[in-house]
Symmetry: C2
Subunit: 233 residues, 2 copies
DNA sequence: GTCTCCAAATTGGTTGGACCAGTGGACCTC
DNA sequence: GAGGTCCACTGGTCCAACCAATTTGGAGAC
């Protein structure tokens, strides 16, 4: 398990440079056709080597965000340096397995701990979250927030500051995949049933059953149909 | 116009390195999870600096094709290094304006030259191409090959080896956009009508009209609905 | 003999400096 | 003023070195 708890994405310098460039373009209100500062100046101002700046440039160029003119400077191709929505989706899809792996490791353990340590108050919080999600589904909503609330209640019941902290780090990535998962037909109701199984095991005080139920739940979250479509040729 | 006749893409070293890596992976039959040679070895074998190899690595990493493990090597994430079909589409979409610009410049001039220089044989070839496309559309086909045949006949009639050569360089890029354009509803018939206008002007010997008709045709090719879709948030 | 642990070799990450190659504008000539 | 020349600017590539994470293999403990 500890293998799965490694940092999800170690920071690469060129990515930070690219991020800074994104900010810069936004702050300065630059638009398509505008020129960005020369590589040497960027390297100097960001206090990194020109090599790192150039890697960031390559990354942005590959994403079709800037145009490089030998001897003439680097120019914006769009009004910002954010990847296209489609690219974002693709990137998230690629990261999904890794996120799921980490989430599976952590939440499975958290569920079993919760089964051992839960107090009456914990159970009440979990049940409240379940009820909220049930109500949301009946209103025809996806229950995104309520889903998150349930998982938060389980984490609280486990009383593992370290794992809880790790889940906090994951939370942003999880939030993005959660919405896409719940958007699939019948998924919210399905998710609720799985939550109930987890809750039952925690109530019973059965760590193994709780871990198993949570494992199944996390696995099913990764089953997202979106973007299996391929343009015909 | 001469501005539009600049090279479409000057070769950047890191792109060549990436291409070589693609070949290597294909030749060696490497698959997802396999490790590719160390950067230093690649630089040595390809006779380029490690800097260029690293830029290629960054480009491939951004496209989600390889995983970089600090100290551990670079690993394939897929069974090949070809960009995803979706990425290909996006890249082509980005290049479309540039291609269209060049194509507009060249084919407009070619059409007016054809109007001045066409022989009876040229007209016959052009008419034959028109008839072939008409037949293809009646068969319910897209008429991709016939479309290309028409443009080829016009180019031949213009008798400009230089421009013809330039069009040959463009042909691969044009072929890709042509299919996507013709796939749109009603587009083949629309395209045929535009071809006929060009042919008429060439037959009449009216260079200006031929250029105008061709210009309109090329512009309409660029109007591709595909990929204006954005995932909702 | 097997296991553990540590140090060296391997491999990616980053740096600074150097030089080459297009671009574009300042400047000079006519 | 028109034209051409030259040079500063900017991207393109290379090199040598060193840092940081991982892997590996052997020394030592059991």
């Amino acid at each position: 398990m500890s293998e799965s708890l490694r940092p999800l994405a170690r920071p690469r310098l060129y990515e930070q440079v690219a991020a800074r460039l994104r900010e810069y373009v936004a702050d300065q209100g630059l638009r398509a056709g505008d020129r960005i500062p020369p590589e040497r100046e960027l390297a100097d101002r960001l206090q990194v080597s020109r090599t790192s700046v150039r890697q960031a440039i390559v990354a942005l160029e590959v994403q079709g965000l800037i145009e490089v003119r030998h001897g003439g400077g680097n120019y914006l191709l769009r009004d910002h340096l954010e990847p296209e929505p489609m690219e974002n989706l693709l990137a998230r899809k690629r990261r999904l397995p890794e996120i799921l792996e980490a989430r599976d490791a952590a939440e499975t353990k958290l569920a079993s701990l919760a089964a051992e340590r839960r107090t009456a108050a914990d159970l009440a919080a979990i049940d409240a979250a379940l009820a909220a999600m049930r109500a949301a589904i009946e209103r025809g909503e996806l229950g995104v927030d309520e889903d998150e609330r349930f998982h938060g209640a389980v984490i609280a019941a486990a009383r593992s500051p370290l794992l809880a902290d790790f889940m906090t780090h994951l939370s942003r990535e999880i939030a993005e995949s959660r919405r896409e998962s719940l958007r699939q037909p019948g998924r919210p109701a399905n998710s609720l049933r799985q939550h109930e199984k987890v809750a039952d095991a925690i109530r019973t005080g059965d760590p193994t059953a709780a871990a198993t139920a949570m494992h199944h739940h996390v696995q099913s979250v990764g089953d997202v149909k979106l973007l299996n479509w391929t343009p015909e040729h």
